[in-house]
Subunit: 313 residues, 2 copies
Protein backbone atom coordinates (compact mmCIF):
# COMPACT_ATOMS: atom_id res chain seq x y z
CA UNK A 1 0.00 0.00 0.00
CA UNK A 2 2.85 2.39 0.77
CA UNK A 3 5.40 1.04 -1.74
CA UNK A 4 7.94 0.58 1.06
CA UNK A 5 8.44 -1.69 4.02
CA UNK A 6 10.91 -2.71 6.73
CA UNK A 7 11.01 -5.08 9.70
CA UNK A 8 8.96 -2.89 12.04
CA UNK A 9 6.19 -1.03 10.29
CA UNK A 10 2.44 -0.77 9.76
CA UNK A 11 0.12 0.98 7.36
CA UNK A 12 -3.43 2.18 8.05
CA UNK A 13 -5.93 3.84 5.74
CA UNK A 14 -8.42 6.10 7.51
CA UNK A 15 -11.06 7.38 5.09
CA UNK A 16 -8.47 7.59 2.33
CA UNK A 17 -5.73 9.11 4.46
CA UNK A 18 -2.71 6.79 4.48
CA UNK A 19 -0.58 6.53 7.65
CA UNK A 20 2.80 4.77 7.57
CA UNK A 21 4.12 3.87 11.02
CA UNK A 22 7.67 2.80 11.82
CA UNK A 23 10.36 3.37 14.46
CA UNK A 24 13.07 6.02 14.59
CA UNK A 25 15.75 3.81 12.97
CA UNK A 26 13.84 4.10 9.69
CA UNK A 27 12.61 7.68 9.88
CA UNK A 28 14.78 9.12 7.07
CA UNK A 29 14.24 6.14 4.75
CA UNK A 30 10.47 6.04 5.36
CA UNK A 31 10.19 9.79 4.75
CA UNK A 32 12.06 9.40 1.46
CA UNK A 33 10.45 6.21 0.17
CA UNK A 34 7.04 5.51 1.71
CA UNK A 35 4.03 6.72 -0.27
CA UNK A 36 1.78 7.96 2.54
CA UNK A 37 -0.03 11.10 3.71
CA UNK A 38 1.60 10.92 7.10
CA UNK A 39 4.75 9.19 8.40
CA UNK A 40 4.44 8.41 12.10
CA UNK A 41 7.51 7.49 14.17
CA UNK A 42 6.58 5.38 17.18
CA UNK A 43 8.28 3.29 19.87
CA UNK A 44 5.09 1.22 20.26
CA UNK A 45 3.30 0.92 16.92
CA UNK A 46 0.22 -1.04 18.13
CA UNK A 47 -0.44 1.50 20.90
CA UNK A 48 -0.01 4.40 18.46
CA UNK A 49 -2.52 2.78 16.07
CA UNK A 50 -4.93 2.44 19.00
CA UNK A 51 -4.53 6.19 19.67
CA UNK A 52 -4.89 7.20 16.01
CA UNK A 53 -8.10 5.18 15.71
CA UNK A 54 -9.53 6.69 18.89
CA UNK A 55 -8.77 10.22 17.69
CA UNK A 56 -10.14 9.53 14.20
CA UNK A 57 -13.53 8.43 15.61
CA UNK A 58 -14.08 6.15 12.60
CA UNK A 59 -16.70 3.45 13.22
CA UNK A 60 -15.34 0.50 11.18
CA UNK A 61 -11.96 -0.68 9.93
CA UNK A 62 -11.05 -3.81 7.95
CA UNK A 63 -7.95 -5.85 8.75
CA UNK A 64 -6.33 -9.19 7.88
CA UNK A 65 -6.28 -11.50 10.95
CA UNK A 66 -3.26 -13.34 9.52
CA UNK A 67 -1.15 -10.19 9.40
CA UNK A 68 -1.54 -9.33 13.12
CA UNK A 69 -0.43 -11.32 16.14
CA UNK A 70 -3.08 -11.85 18.79
CA UNK A 71 -1.04 -9.69 21.20
CA UNK A 72 -0.79 -6.79 18.73
CA UNK A 73 -4.48 -7.11 17.87
CA UNK A 74 -5.44 -6.91 21.55
CA UNK A 75 -3.39 -3.71 21.98
CA UNK A 76 -4.96 -2.11 18.91
CA UNK A 77 -8.57 -2.87 19.91
CA UNK A 78 -8.18 -2.02 23.61
CA UNK A 79 -11.02 0.28 24.79
CA UNK A 80 -11.71 1.15 21.16
CA UNK A 81 -15.09 2.25 19.84
CA UNK A 82 -14.11 1.21 16.32
CA UNK A 83 -15.58 -2.01 14.93
CA UNK A 84 -12.83 -4.34 13.61
CA UNK A 85 -13.95 -6.32 10.56
CA UNK A 86 -11.88 -9.44 9.88
CA UNK A 87 -11.02 -9.85 6.19
CA UNK A 88 -8.70 -12.85 5.85
CA UNK A 89 -5.97 -12.30 3.25
CA UNK A 90 -7.42 -8.95 2.05
CA UNK A 91 -4.02 -7.57 1.07
CA UNK A 92 -2.79 -10.78 -0.49
CA UNK A 93 -5.99 -11.08 -2.54
CA UNK A 94 -5.67 -7.49 -3.72
CA UNK A 95 -2.05 -8.06 -4.76
CA UNK A 96 -2.66 -11.34 -6.60
CA UNK A 97 -3.56 -9.52 -9.82
CA UNK A 98 -0.64 -7.55 -11.20
CA UNK A 99 -0.82 -4.26 -13.08
CA UNK A 100 0.90 -4.10 -16.52
CA UNK A 101 3.86 -2.13 -15.12
CA UNK A 102 4.27 -4.76 -12.40
CA UNK A 103 4.29 -7.53 -15.00
CA UNK A 104 7.05 -5.64 -16.85
CA UNK A 105 9.13 -5.43 -13.66
CA UNK A 106 8.55 -9.15 -12.94
CA UNK A 107 9.56 -9.96 -16.52
CA UNK A 108 12.82 -8.07 -16.05
CA UNK A 109 13.54 -9.82 -12.74
CA UNK A 110 12.76 -13.24 -14.27
CA UNK A 111 14.95 -12.58 -17.31
CA UNK A 112 17.88 -11.57 -15.12
CA UNK A 113 17.35 -14.74 -13.05
CA UNK A 114 17.17 -16.96 -16.14
CA UNK A 115 20.40 -15.53 -17.58
CA UNK A 116 22.23 -16.02 -14.30
CA UNK A 117 21.35 -19.74 -14.37
CA UNK A 118 23.55 -20.10 -17.46
CA UNK A 119 26.57 -19.30 -15.30
CA UNK A 120 25.32 -21.36 -12.37
CA UNK A 121 25.23 -24.40 -14.65
CA UNK A 122 28.93 -23.85 -15.39
CA UNK A 123 29.69 -24.60 -11.72
CA UNK A 124 28.93 -28.26 -12.49
CA UNK A 125 32.46 -28.65 -13.86
CA UNK A 126 33.94 -27.95 -10.38
CA UNK A 127 33.89 -31.46 -8.93
CA UNK A 128 34.78 -31.69 -5.21
CA UNK A 129 33.09 -28.36 -4.53
CA UNK A 130 30.94 -28.67 -1.38
CA UNK A 131 27.22 -27.89 -1.38
CA UNK A 132 27.95 -24.92 0.86
CA UNK A 133 30.55 -23.53 -1.52
CA UNK A 134 28.25 -24.21 -4.48
CA UNK A 135 25.56 -22.31 -2.61
CA UNK A 136 27.89 -19.39 -2.02
CA UNK A 137 28.94 -19.33 -5.67
CA UNK A 138 25.27 -19.47 -6.68
CA UNK A 139 24.58 -16.41 -4.53
CA UNK A 140 27.59 -14.66 -6.09
CA UNK A 141 26.30 -15.37 -9.60
CA UNK A 142 22.61 -14.66 -8.88
CA UNK A 143 23.37 -11.30 -7.30
CA UNK A 144 25.86 -10.36 -10.01
CA UNK A 145 28.33 -9.89 -7.16
CA UNK A 146 25.93 -7.59 -5.38
CA UNK A 147 24.16 -5.79 -8.23
CA UNK A 148 20.86 -7.54 -7.45
CA UNK A 149 19.34 -8.62 -4.17
CA UNK A 150 18.24 -12.25 -3.78
CA UNK A 151 14.51 -12.92 -3.64
CA UNK A 152 15.24 -15.75 -1.17
CA UNK A 153 18.19 -17.80 0.07
CA UNK A 154 18.83 -20.17 -2.87
CA UNK A 155 18.52 -23.94 -2.54
CA UNK A 156 21.43 -25.92 -3.98
CA UNK A 157 21.39 -29.68 -3.42
CA UNK A 158 23.39 -32.58 -4.79
CA UNK A 159 22.23 -36.17 -5.21
CA UNK A 160 20.38 -37.53 -2.15
CA UNK A 161 20.07 -34.06 -0.57
CA UNK A 162 17.98 -33.00 -3.54
CA UNK A 163 15.30 -35.41 -2.25
CA UNK A 164 14.60 -32.71 0.37
CA UNK A 165 12.56 -30.03 -1.44
CA UNK A 166 14.06 -27.33 0.84
CA UNK A 167 17.51 -28.76 1.60
CA UNK A 168 20.08 -26.84 3.69
CA UNK A 169 23.56 -26.81 2.01
CA UNK A 170 25.88 -29.46 3.52
CA UNK A 171 29.57 -30.31 3.21
CA UNK A 172 28.77 -33.09 0.71
CA UNK A 173 30.93 -32.83 -2.40
CA UNK A 174 30.04 -32.49 -6.05
CA UNK A 175 30.97 -35.52 -8.15
CA UNK A 176 31.36 -35.54 -11.92
CA UNK A 177 28.12 -37.52 -12.22
CA UNK A 178 26.13 -35.67 -9.50
CA UNK A 179 22.53 -34.66 -9.91
CA UNK A 180 22.24 -30.98 -8.92
CA UNK A 181 19.07 -29.06 -8.07
CA UNK A 182 19.20 -25.24 -7.96
CA UNK A 183 16.23 -23.09 -6.89
CA UNK A 184 16.92 -19.37 -6.79
CA UNK A 185 15.77 -15.90 -7.72
CA UNK A 186 16.69 -12.24 -7.75
CA UNK A 187 14.89 -8.98 -7.12
CA UNK A 188 14.57 -6.19 -9.65
CA UNK A 189 13.17 -2.98 -8.16
CA UNK A 190 11.70 -5.06 -5.31
CA UNK A 191 10.00 -7.59 -7.65
CA UNK A 192 11.04 -11.23 -7.27
CA UNK A 193 12.03 -13.93 -9.73
CA UNK A 194 11.94 -17.66 -8.93
CA UNK A 195 13.38 -20.49 -10.99
CA UNK A 196 14.41 -24.11 -10.45
CA UNK A 197 16.61 -26.17 -12.74
CA UNK A 198 17.70 -29.73 -12.08
CA UNK A 199 20.84 -30.99 -13.83
CA UNK A 200 20.78 -34.76 -14.23
CA UNK A 201 23.17 -37.36 -15.60
CA UNK A 202 21.45 -38.30 -18.84
CA UNK A 203 23.22 -41.66 -18.85
CA UNK A 204 21.31 -42.73 -15.71
CA UNK A 205 17.95 -44.16 -16.84
CA UNK A 206 16.04 -43.54 -13.56
CA UNK A 207 17.13 -39.88 -13.45
CA UNK A 208 16.15 -39.39 -17.09
CA UNK A 209 12.80 -41.08 -16.52
CA UNK A 210 11.92 -38.97 -13.49
CA UNK A 211 13.08 -35.81 -15.26
CA UNK A 212 10.87 -36.56 -18.25
CA UNK A 213 7.82 -37.12 -16.04
CA UNK A 214 8.35 -33.86 -14.14
CA UNK A 215 8.87 -31.95 -17.37
CA UNK A 216 5.72 -33.47 -18.89
CA UNK A 217 3.74 -32.52 -15.75
CA UNK A 218 5.02 -28.95 -16.02
CA UNK A 219 4.35 -28.60 -19.76
CA UNK A 220 0.88 -30.07 -19.36
CA UNK A 221 0.05 -27.61 -16.58
CA UNK A 222 1.35 -24.62 -18.57
CA UNK A 223 -0.67 -25.62 -21.64
CA UNK A 224 -3.83 -26.32 -19.61
CA UNK A 225 -3.98 -23.16 -17.46
CA UNK A 226 -6.98 -20.99 -18.39
CA UNK A 227 -8.53 -17.88 -16.90
CA UNK A 228 -11.65 -18.96 -14.98
CA UNK A 229 -10.18 -22.33 -14.01
CA UNK A 230 -9.81 -23.12 -10.32
CA UNK A 231 -6.21 -23.14 -9.11
CA UNK A 232 -6.75 -26.56 -7.53
CA UNK A 233 -7.82 -27.96 -10.93
CA UNK A 234 -4.46 -26.90 -12.34
CA UNK A 235 -2.69 -28.62 -9.44
CA UNK A 236 -4.70 -31.78 -10.21
CA UNK A 237 -3.77 -31.69 -13.91
CA UNK A 238 -0.04 -31.72 -13.10
CA UNK A 239 -0.48 -34.24 -10.29
CA UNK A 240 -2.33 -36.66 -12.59
CA UNK A 241 0.63 -36.83 -14.97
CA UNK A 242 2.89 -37.83 -12.06
CA UNK A 243 0.24 -40.16 -10.55
CA UNK A 244 -0.24 -41.95 -13.85
CA UNK A 245 3.51 -42.53 -14.09
CA UNK A 246 3.35 -44.14 -10.62
CA UNK A 247 5.16 -41.42 -8.62
CA UNK A 248 2.18 -39.55 -7.15
CA UNK A 249 3.23 -40.01 -3.56
CA UNK A 250 6.65 -38.49 -4.26
CA UNK A 251 5.19 -35.16 -5.44
CA UNK A 252 4.87 -33.92 -1.88
CA UNK A 253 4.24 -30.19 -2.25
CA UNK A 254 1.86 -27.92 -4.11
CA UNK A 255 2.24 -27.05 -7.80
CA UNK A 256 3.02 -23.36 -7.38
CA UNK A 257 2.49 -19.97 -5.78
CA UNK A 258 1.89 -16.38 -6.78
CA UNK A 259 4.94 -14.13 -6.95
CA UNK A 260 5.42 -10.35 -6.84
CA UNK A 261 6.94 -8.05 -4.24
CA UNK A 262 6.99 -11.10 -1.98
CA UNK A 263 8.36 -14.44 -3.06
CA UNK A 264 5.12 -16.12 -1.94
CA UNK A 265 1.96 -14.27 -2.91
CA UNK A 266 -1.50 -15.27 -4.05
CA UNK A 267 -2.81 -17.31 -5.85
CA UNK A 268 -1.92 -20.60 -4.14
CA UNK A 269 -1.75 -23.39 -6.71
CA UNK A 270 -2.49 -26.39 -4.51
CA UNK A 271 -5.05 -29.16 -4.09
CA UNK A 272 -6.77 -27.15 -1.34
CA UNK A 273 -6.59 -23.68 -2.93
CA UNK A 274 -9.82 -21.66 -2.96
CA UNK A 275 -8.36 -19.37 -5.66
CA UNK A 276 -9.51 -18.90 -9.25
CA UNK A 277 -7.04 -18.15 -12.08
CA UNK A 278 -7.55 -14.59 -13.29
CA UNK A 279 -6.10 -12.35 -16.00
CA UNK A 280 -2.93 -10.63 -14.70
CA UNK A 281 -2.00 -13.23 -12.10
CA UNK A 282 1.68 -14.21 -12.02
CA UNK A 283 2.66 -17.51 -10.41
CA UNK A 284 5.15 -20.36 -10.48
CA UNK A 285 4.56 -23.84 -11.93
CA UNK A 286 6.98 -26.19 -10.19
CA UNK A 287 6.16 -29.88 -10.06
CA UNK A 288 8.72 -32.20 -8.47
CA UNK A 289 9.39 -35.83 -7.64
CA UNK A 290 11.50 -36.64 -4.56
CA UNK A 291 12.78 -40.18 -4.07
CA UNK A 292 14.02 -40.43 -0.45
CA UNK A 293 17.74 -41.30 -0.14
CA UNK A 294 18.06 -41.22 -3.94
CA UNK A 295 17.44 -37.81 -5.52
CA UNK A 296 14.81 -35.22 -6.35
CA UNK A 297 13.89 -33.39 -9.55
CA UNK A 298 12.01 -30.09 -9.69
CA UNK A 299 11.47 -27.81 -12.69
CA UNK A 300 10.09 -24.33 -12.14
CA UNK A 301 9.09 -21.41 -14.31
CA UNK A 302 6.97 -18.31 -13.72
CA UNK A 303 3.89 -17.65 -15.86
CA UNK A 304 1.48 -14.74 -16.31
CA UNK A 305 -2.20 -15.21 -17.15
CA UNK A 306 -2.56 -13.23 -20.38
CA UNK A 307 -5.31 -13.31 -23.02
CA UNK A 308 -6.97 -16.09 -21.07
CA UNK A 309 -3.99 -18.45 -20.90
CA UNK A 310 -0.60 -18.95 -19.28
CA UNK A 311 2.46 -17.36 -20.89
CA UNK A 312 5.91 -18.33 -19.61
CA UNK A 313 7.79 -15.27 -18.40
CA UNK B 1 12.39 -25.95 22.13
CA UNK B 2 13.04 -28.42 19.32
CA UNK B 3 16.52 -27.19 18.32
CA UNK B 4 15.34 -26.79 14.73
CA UNK B 5 13.08 -24.45 12.79
CA UNK B 6 11.97 -23.48 9.29
CA UNK B 7 9.50 -21.06 7.70
CA UNK B 8 6.38 -23.16 8.36
CA UNK B 9 6.49 -24.97 11.66
CA UNK B 10 5.10 -25.15 15.19
CA UNK B 11 6.00 -26.86 18.43
CA UNK B 12 3.63 -27.94 21.20
CA UNK B 13 4.35 -29.58 24.53
CA UNK B 14 1.52 -31.73 25.88
CA UNK B 15 2.29 -32.96 29.39
CA UNK B 16 5.96 -33.30 28.50
CA UNK B 17 5.42 -34.86 25.07
CA UNK B 18 6.96 -32.63 22.42
CA UNK B 19 5.26 -32.39 18.99
CA UNK B 20 7.04 -30.72 16.05
CA UNK B 21 4.70 -29.81 13.18
CA UNK B 22 5.79 -28.83 9.68
CA UNK B 23 4.80 -29.42 6.05
CA UNK B 24 5.95 -32.14 3.67
CA UNK B 25 8.74 -30.03 2.11
CA UNK B 26 10.63 -30.32 5.40
CA UNK B 27 9.77 -33.87 6.43
CA UNK B 28 13.24 -35.40 5.96
CA UNK B 29 15.07 -32.46 7.53
CA UNK B 30 12.68 -32.25 10.50
CA UNK B 31 12.97 -35.98 11.13
CA UNK B 32 16.77 -35.68 11.10
CA UNK B 33 17.19 -32.47 13.08
CA UNK B 34 14.19 -31.66 15.29
CA UNK B 35 14.38 -32.81 18.90
CA UNK B 36 10.80 -33.96 19.51
CA UNK B 37 8.83 -37.01 20.53
CA UNK B 38 6.69 -36.84 17.43
CA UNK B 39 7.15 -35.17 14.02
CA UNK B 40 3.79 -34.34 12.45
CA UNK B 41 3.53 -33.47 8.75
CA UNK B 42 0.52 -31.28 8.01
CA UNK B 43 -0.93 -29.21 5.19
CA UNK B 44 -2.78 -27.04 7.74
CA UNK B 45 -0.75 -26.76 10.93
CA UNK B 46 -3.26 -24.69 12.98
CA UNK B 47 -6.07 -27.18 12.21
CA UNK B 48 -3.82 -30.11 13.11
CA UNK B 49 -2.93 -28.47 16.44
CA UNK B 50 -6.65 -28.01 17.08
CA UNK B 51 -7.15 -31.76 16.48
CA UNK B 52 -4.17 -32.82 18.61
CA UNK B 53 -5.43 -30.70 21.52
CA UNK B 54 -8.95 -32.13 21.21
CA UNK B 55 -7.65 -35.70 21.21
CA UNK B 56 -5.26 -35.03 24.13
CA UNK B 57 -8.12 -33.79 26.34
CA UNK B 58 -5.71 -31.52 28.26
CA UNK B 59 -7.45 -28.74 30.17
CA UNK B 60 -4.94 -25.87 29.96
CA UNK B 61 -2.14 -24.82 27.62
CA UNK B 62 0.12 -21.75 27.76
CA UNK B 63 1.01 -19.78 24.63
CA UNK B 64 2.67 -16.51 23.58
CA UNK B 65 0.09 -14.15 21.97
CA UNK B 66 2.87 -12.42 20.03
CA UNK B 67 3.94 -15.64 18.31
CA UNK B 68 0.49 -16.43 16.83
CA UNK B 69 -1.53 -14.44 14.33
CA UNK B 70 -5.13 -13.78 15.31
CA UNK B 71 -6.30 -15.97 12.40
CA UNK B 72 -4.11 -18.91 13.44
CA UNK B 73 -5.18 -18.49 17.07
CA UNK B 74 -8.86 -18.58 16.09
CA UNK B 75 -8.32 -21.84 14.16
CA UNK B 76 -6.47 -23.46 17.07
CA UNK B 77 -9.09 -22.56 19.70
CA UNK B 78 -12.16 -23.37 17.56
CA UNK B 79 -14.64 -25.58 19.49
CA UNK B 80 -11.84 -26.46 21.89
CA UNK B 81 -12.39 -27.50 25.50
CA UNK B 82 -8.81 -26.55 26.36
CA UNK B 83 -8.21 -23.29 28.26
CA UNK B 84 -5.67 -21.07 26.49
CA UNK B 85 -3.51 -19.10 28.92
CA UNK B 86 -1.81 -16.05 27.40
CA UNK B 87 1.85 -15.74 28.49
CA UNK B 88 3.35 -12.81 26.58
CA UNK B 89 6.95 -13.46 25.50
CA UNK B 90 7.19 -16.77 27.43
CA UNK B 91 9.71 -18.23 24.98
CA UNK B 92 11.74 -15.05 24.63
CA UNK B 93 11.95 -14.68 28.41
CA UNK B 94 13.07 -18.28 28.79
CA UNK B 95 15.77 -17.80 26.17
CA UNK B 96 17.13 -14.52 27.56
CA UNK B 97 19.44 -16.32 29.99
CA UNK B 98 22.05 -18.40 28.21
CA UNK B 99 23.49 -21.70 29.37
CA UNK B 100 27.33 -21.96 29.60
CA UNK B 101 27.54 -23.99 26.36
CA UNK B 102 25.47 -21.35 24.61
CA UNK B 103 27.79 -18.60 25.84
CA UNK B 104 30.73 -20.58 24.41
CA UNK B 105 29.00 -20.81 21.04
CA UNK B 106 28.19 -17.10 21.09
CA UNK B 107 31.81 -16.34 22.00
CA UNK B 108 32.99 -18.32 18.98
CA UNK B 109 30.53 -16.55 16.66
CA UNK B 110 31.54 -13.14 18.04
CA UNK B 111 35.27 -13.89 17.69
CA UNK B 112 34.81 -14.95 14.07
CA UNK B 113 32.84 -11.76 13.44
CA UNK B 114 35.48 -9.57 15.10
CA UNK B 115 38.31 -11.10 13.06
CA UNK B 116 36.41 -10.62 9.81
CA UNK B 117 36.12 -6.88 10.54
CA UNK B 118 39.92 -6.63 10.18
CA UNK B 119 39.51 -7.51 6.49
CA UNK B 120 36.43 -5.37 6.07
CA UNK B 121 38.43 -2.35 7.23
CA UNK B 122 40.92 -3.01 4.41
CA UNK B 123 38.14 -2.25 1.90
CA UNK B 124 38.52 1.42 2.86
CA UNK B 125 41.47 1.69 0.49
CA UNK B 126 39.19 1.00 -2.52
CA UNK B 127 38.00 4.51 -3.26
CA UNK B 128 35.25 4.77 -5.89
CA UNK B 129 33.72 1.49 -4.71
CA UNK B 130 29.92 1.92 -4.44
CA UNK B 131 28.06 1.25 -1.23
CA UNK B 132 26.39 -1.73 -2.91
CA UNK B 133 29.71 -3.22 -3.93
CA UNK B 134 31.14 -2.50 -0.49
CA UNK B 135 28.12 -4.29 0.96
CA UNK B 136 28.69 -7.28 -1.28
CA UNK B 137 32.38 -7.42 -0.38
CA UNK B 138 31.43 -7.17 3.30
CA UNK B 139 29.14 -10.19 2.88
CA UNK B 140 31.95 -12.05 1.09
CA UNK B 141 34.36 -11.35 3.96
CA UNK B 142 31.88 -11.94 6.80
CA UNK B 143 30.78 -15.29 5.42
CA UNK B 144 34.37 -16.34 4.63
CA UNK B 145 33.09 -16.85 1.07
CA UNK B 146 30.29 -19.06 2.30
CA UNK B 147 31.83 -20.84 5.30
CA UNK B 148 29.55 -18.98 7.72
CA UNK B 149 25.98 -17.81 7.38
CA UNK B 150 25.21 -14.15 8.06
CA UNK B 151 23.23 -13.38 11.20
CA UNK B 152 21.53 -10.54 9.26
CA UNK B 153 21.99 -8.55 6.08
CA UNK B 154 24.91 -6.23 6.95
CA UNK B 155 24.58 -2.46 6.97
CA UNK B 156 27.33 -0.58 5.14
CA UNK B 157 26.92 3.16 4.81
CA UNK B 158 29.20 6.00 3.70
CA UNK B 159 29.05 9.60 4.85
CA UNK B 160 25.51 11.06 4.88
CA UNK B 161 23.90 7.63 4.43
CA UNK B 162 25.41 6.60 7.76
CA UNK B 163 23.02 9.08 9.38
CA UNK B 164 20.31 6.44 8.72
CA UNK B 165 20.78 3.80 11.43
CA UNK B 166 19.49 1.09 9.04
CA UNK B 167 20.61 2.43 5.66
CA UNK B 168 20.04 0.48 2.42
CA UNK B 169 23.23 0.32 0.26
CA UNK B 170 23.17 2.91 -2.55
CA UNK B 171 25.31 3.64 -5.61
CA UNK B 172 27.14 6.41 -3.73
CA UNK B 173 30.91 6.05 -4.02
CA UNK B 174 33.61 5.69 -1.40
CA UNK B 175 35.97 8.66 -1.21
CA UNK B 176 39.42 8.63 0.33
CA UNK B 177 38.10 10.73 3.24
CA UNK B 178 34.72 8.97 3.64
CA UNK B 179 33.24 8.05 6.99
CA UNK B 180 32.15 4.39 6.82
CA UNK B 181 29.78 2.59 9.18
CA UNK B 182 29.65 -1.24 9.07
CA UNK B 183 27.18 -3.28 11.14
CA UNK B 184 27.34 -7.03 10.58
CA UNK B 185 27.48 -10.47 12.09
CA UNK B 186 27.85 -14.17 11.38
CA UNK B 187 26.33 -17.36 12.71
CA UNK B 188 28.27 -20.18 14.30
CA UNK B 189 26.19 -23.32 14.83
CA UNK B 190 23.05 -21.17 14.61
CA UNK B 191 24.29 -18.61 17.22
CA UNK B 192 24.58 -15.00 16.06
CA UNK B 193 27.27 -12.37 16.38
CA UNK B 194 26.64 -8.64 15.98
CA UNK B 195 29.22 -5.85 15.70
CA UNK B 196 29.37 -2.26 14.49
CA UNK B 197 32.50 -0.29 13.70
CA UNK B 198 32.57 3.25 12.35
CA UNK B 199 35.68 4.40 10.49
CA UNK B 200 36.10 8.15 10.66
CA UNK B 201 38.51 10.67 9.23
CA UNK B 202 40.49 11.63 12.33
CA UNK B 203 41.45 14.92 10.72
CA UNK B 204 37.80 16.09 10.79
CA UNK B 205 37.13 17.60 14.23
CA UNK B 206 33.33 17.06 14.25
CA UNK B 207 33.71 13.37 13.33
CA UNK B 208 36.35 12.88 16.00
CA UNK B 209 34.22 14.69 18.59
CA UNK B 210 31.10 12.62 17.86
CA UNK B 211 33.13 9.41 17.81
CA UNK B 212 34.64 10.18 21.21
CA UNK B 213 31.20 10.88 22.73
CA UNK B 214 29.75 7.61 21.39
CA UNK B 215 32.77 5.65 22.60
CA UNK B 216 32.52 7.24 26.04
CA UNK B 217 28.80 6.39 26.20
CA UNK B 218 29.58 2.77 25.29
CA UNK B 219 32.45 2.40 27.75
CA UNK B 220 30.42 3.99 30.53
CA UNK B 221 27.53 1.59 29.89
CA UNK B 222 29.82 -1.48 29.82
CA UNK B 223 31.49 -0.44 33.09
CA UNK B 224 28.16 0.36 34.79
CA UNK B 225 26.16 -2.77 33.91
CA UNK B 226 25.39 -4.83 37.02
CA UNK B 227 23.26 -7.90 37.67
CA UNK B 228 20.05 -6.70 39.35
CA UNK B 229 20.05 -3.35 37.53
CA UNK B 230 17.05 -2.52 35.35
CA UNK B 231 17.82 -2.61 31.62
CA UNK B 232 16.26 0.83 31.26
CA UNK B 233 18.71 2.24 33.83
CA UNK B 234 21.58 1.05 31.66
CA UNK B 235 20.01 2.75 28.66
CA UNK B 236 19.75 5.95 30.72
CA UNK B 237 23.41 5.80 31.77
CA UNK B 238 24.59 5.72 28.14
CA UNK B 239 22.01 8.27 27.07
CA UNK B 240 23.09 10.73 29.74
CA UNK B 241 26.66 10.78 28.39
CA UNK B 242 25.31 11.76 24.98
CA UNK B 243 22.72 14.15 26.44
CA UNK B 244 25.36 15.95 28.49
CA UNK B 245 27.47 16.41 25.35
CA UNK B 246 24.44 18.05 23.71
CA UNK B 247 23.56 15.33 21.19
CA UNK B 248 20.74 13.53 23.07
CA UNK B 249 18.17 14.03 20.35
CA UNK B 250 20.47 12.38 17.78
CA UNK B 251 20.68 9.08 19.69
CA UNK B 252 17.40 7.90 18.22
CA UNK B 253 17.31 4.19 19.03
CA UNK B 254 17.66 1.97 22.08
CA UNK B 255 21.02 1.07 23.60
CA UNK B 256 20.96 -2.66 22.81
CA UNK B 257 19.23 -6.00 22.52
CA UNK B 258 19.69 -9.59 23.61
CA UNK B 259 21.32 -11.94 21.10
CA UNK B 260 21.37 -15.72 20.72
CA UNK B 261 19.81 -18.04 18.14
CA UNK B 262 17.97 -14.95 16.92
CA UNK B 263 19.68 -11.68 16.20
CA UNK B 264 17.12 -9.89 18.41
CA UNK B 265 16.31 -11.65 21.65
CA UNK B 266 15.61 -10.58 25.20
CA UNK B 267 16.55 -8.53 27.16
CA UNK B 268 15.62 -5.24 25.49
CA UNK B 269 18.00 -2.49 26.58
CA UNK B 270 15.80 0.56 26.05
CA UNK B 271 14.21 3.40 27.99
CA UNK B 272 10.93 1.48 28.13
CA UNK B 273 12.28 -2.00 28.86
CA UNK B 274 10.63 -3.93 31.71
CA UNK B 275 13.66 -6.30 31.84
CA UNK B 276 16.17 -6.77 34.64
CA UNK B 277 19.85 -7.60 33.95
CA UNK B 278 20.56 -11.17 35.09
CA UNK B 279 23.58 -13.49 35.22
CA UNK B 280 23.99 -15.29 31.87
CA UNK B 281 22.27 -12.68 29.72
CA UNK B 282 24.08 -11.80 26.47
CA UNK B 283 23.26 -8.52 24.75
CA UNK B 284 24.64 -5.74 22.57
CA UNK B 285 25.68 -2.28 23.74
CA UNK B 286 25.47 0.02 20.74
CA UNK B 287 25.02 3.73 21.29
CA UNK B 288 24.98 5.99 18.23
CA UNK B 289 24.70 9.62 17.17
CA UNK B 290 23.13 10.40 13.78
CA UNK B 291 23.43 13.90 12.37
CA UNK B 292 20.94 14.15 9.47
CA UNK B 293 22.54 14.92 6.09
CA UNK B 294 25.98 14.80 7.70
CA UNK B 295 26.96 11.41 9.13
CA UNK B 296 26.28 8.86 11.86
CA UNK B 297 28.56 7.04 14.30
CA UNK B 298 27.65 3.79 16.05
CA UNK B 299 29.92 1.50 18.09
CA UNK B 300 28.65 -1.93 19.07
CA UNK B 301 29.96 -4.86 21.09
CA UNK B 302 28.31 -7.89 22.68
CA UNK B 303 28.60 -8.48 26.42
CA UNK B 304 27.69 -11.31 28.79
CA UNK B 305 26.59 -10.73 32.38
CA UNK B 306 29.14 -12.74 34.35
CA UNK B 307 30.05 -12.62 38.06
CA UNK B 308 27.59 -9.78 38.43
CA UNK B 309 28.99 -7.50 35.74
CA UNK B 310 29.33 -7.09 31.98
CA UNK B 311 32.22 -8.78 30.19
CA UNK B 312 32.86 -7.88 26.54
CA UNK B 313 32.68 -10.99 24.37
Amino acid sequence: MCNYSNDNSACIDISGQLFFLTDSRYSIEATEQAVADKIVISKNIPKTINNILKKSKITRIKFDPYELSLGVYETIVKNSNTQFVSKPYMFKLRRAIKQPHEIDLLKTAINIGRKRFIDIKKLLSHSNMTEQKFNYKTIEILTGKGEQQLSFSPITAFDKNSAKPHAIPSLDKLRTDSLVLVDGGVKYRHYCSDRTETYIDHKKPLQQKIYDIVQKAQHTAIKSAKVGMKAKELDTIAREVIDTAGYGKYFSHSLGHGIGLDIHEYPIISSKSPDMLKEGMVFTIEPGIYLPDKFGVRIEDCVVMKNGKAEVL
